[in-house]
């Protein structure tokens, strides 16, 4: 059950999608998962998060899964080479925000709005990643003491 908790929390965060005024929590979470789960399990979770996003935004199913998988790929490639999960997840979320805006079915908003979308997604990814790292580091320390 403990191993499922991060995925359940990720799905709930991506459920914020219709109500978050800027950026995309689902893409941010996908980038963070790319730094933590570099295996098929992480990719399946990311696809599911993308499908939830599509349903909640009344999109064509599958569009967001491809974008979320792109964010996961960028983050996992960079993590396997560089480490630094917080910085990597911020960069991956920002880069994956570009196709998200370009593929938006309702057109996209020029100038500040598109920058705001990317910046807000990247900031969310940074916050999620920092919180996740903080919690996992604390758990590891507790285990060492035992």
């Amino acid at each position: 059950m403990k191993s499922l908790t991060p995925f359940i929390i990720s799905l709930l965060i991506s459920g914020l999608e219709p109500f978050w005024p800027l950026g995309s929590p689902a893409i941010a979470v996908s980038a963070v998962l790319g730094t933590k789960y570099l295996n098929s399990r992480g990719l399946v979770a990311v696809i599911l998060i993308g499908l939830v996003r599509d349903v909640l935004l009344v999109n064509r199913l599958g569009v967001s899964s491809a974008i979320a998988a792109f964010a996961w790929l960028l983050a996992s490639l960079a993590t396997s080479r560089l480490g630094r999960p917080v910085m990597v997840s911020i960069a991956a979320a920002a880069l994956a925000g570009l196709p998200a805006i370009a593929l938006a079915p309702a057109g996209f908003f020029p100038g500040p709005a598109s920058y705001q979308f990317i910046l807000s997604t990247a900031a969310l990814a940074g916050i999620f990643s920092a919180v996740w790292n903080f919690i996992s580091d604390r758990d590891e320390k507790i285990r060492v003491r035992k």
Binding site: F19, V58, G62, S65, W72
Partner: protein
């Protein structure tokens, strides 16, 4: 893990996504949509409250960190306070009464109020759950959506179980027959309104012999059976340079509604 195996997994995910898109385009995945919507409805209610609170906190932070701009803004607000109070009270009254009673326009069509869920980069509205006269949700597609002031926002593009996406006028796929009115509310010219790249709205196919001046009202003509006539769309903005040899001219349209500021919209039944 090796980069090659990561890329291989990504390609499988893209293939899977394309397969899902194909089956969704054949409308075979309604059961999947339905089940996800059922699972997420109660959770998103809680999360929307959290997200709304976060949004208000960010707005308050921005306001207090603005410094001199805040003082100037305060002075401007004080100057406009009297008119604003009257206008907002009237708008609030209209909004509340239309939300409770269902607002019936003078021209005979009735309007169903719907709450705006989000305008991050798409306009998502909540479908009123127990509205007696609302048609079945699949019939909602293509229905016009108005702002509380009666201006046209767009039409419903896609419908879920409890939410729907609005196709805005600035969407590159939308084309609407429109008319330009002179200051005396007489029809001056007809044209075709279309969304263009960069969320702009353009009025095209207007004869060059017509003198388009900024601030003239643009309204629907009702020729396409989708939108009723005389709904306000916006006002003429910048006009393109006229060439002697061309038959038609173009003009930008300044929209009457900013979708980001909407809290409630009305669906024409």
């Amino acid at each position: 893990m090796k980069p090659s195996s990561l890329i291989f997994r990504f390609l499988i995910a893209v293939f899977f996504s394309l397969t899902v898109m194909f089956f969704d385009s054949l409308s075979r995945l309604g059961w999947f949509r339905g089940s996800i919507e059922t699972v997420f409805r109660p959770e998103t209610r809680v999360l929307s409250f959290v997200a709304g609170g976060a949004g208000r906190l960010i707005a308050a932070g921005r306001y207090f960190s603005s410094g001199p701009a805040r003082v100037a803004d305060l002075e401007r607000r004080l100057a406009a306070a009297e008119n604003f109070a009257i206008a907002s009270a009237r708008n609030q009254e209209k909004l509340e009464s239309s939300r409770i009673l269902g607002w019936v326009d003078n021209r005979g069509f009735s309007l169903a109020p719907a709450k705006v869920l989000s305008f991050g980069w798409q306009l998502i509205i909540e479908i009123p759950p127990n509205l007696p006269d609302l048609p079945d949700t699949p019939d909602l597609i293509g229905k016009p959506v108005l702002s509380p002031d009666g201006a046209l926002v767009g039409s419903i593009a896609k419908v879920g179980r409890w939410s729907a996406r609005v196709k805005l006028l600035s969407d590159s796929g939308s084309q609407i027959p429109a008319a330009v009115l002179n200051p005396g509310k007489q029809k001056l010219a007809a044209g075709l309104l279309s969304g263009s790249f960069g969320a702009a709205i353009t009025l095209e196919k207007v004869l060059t012999e017509v003198d388009l001046q900024p601030d003239l009202a643009v309204v629907t003509t009702g020729e396409d059976d989708q939108f009723p006539s005389d709904l306000l769309i916006g006002w003429i903005g910048k006009t393109g340079a006229k060439e002697a040899s061309s038959v038609y001219q173009k003009a930008e349209v300044v929209p009457a509604v900013n979708p980001a500021e909407l809290k409630t919209v009305f669906i024409i039944e």
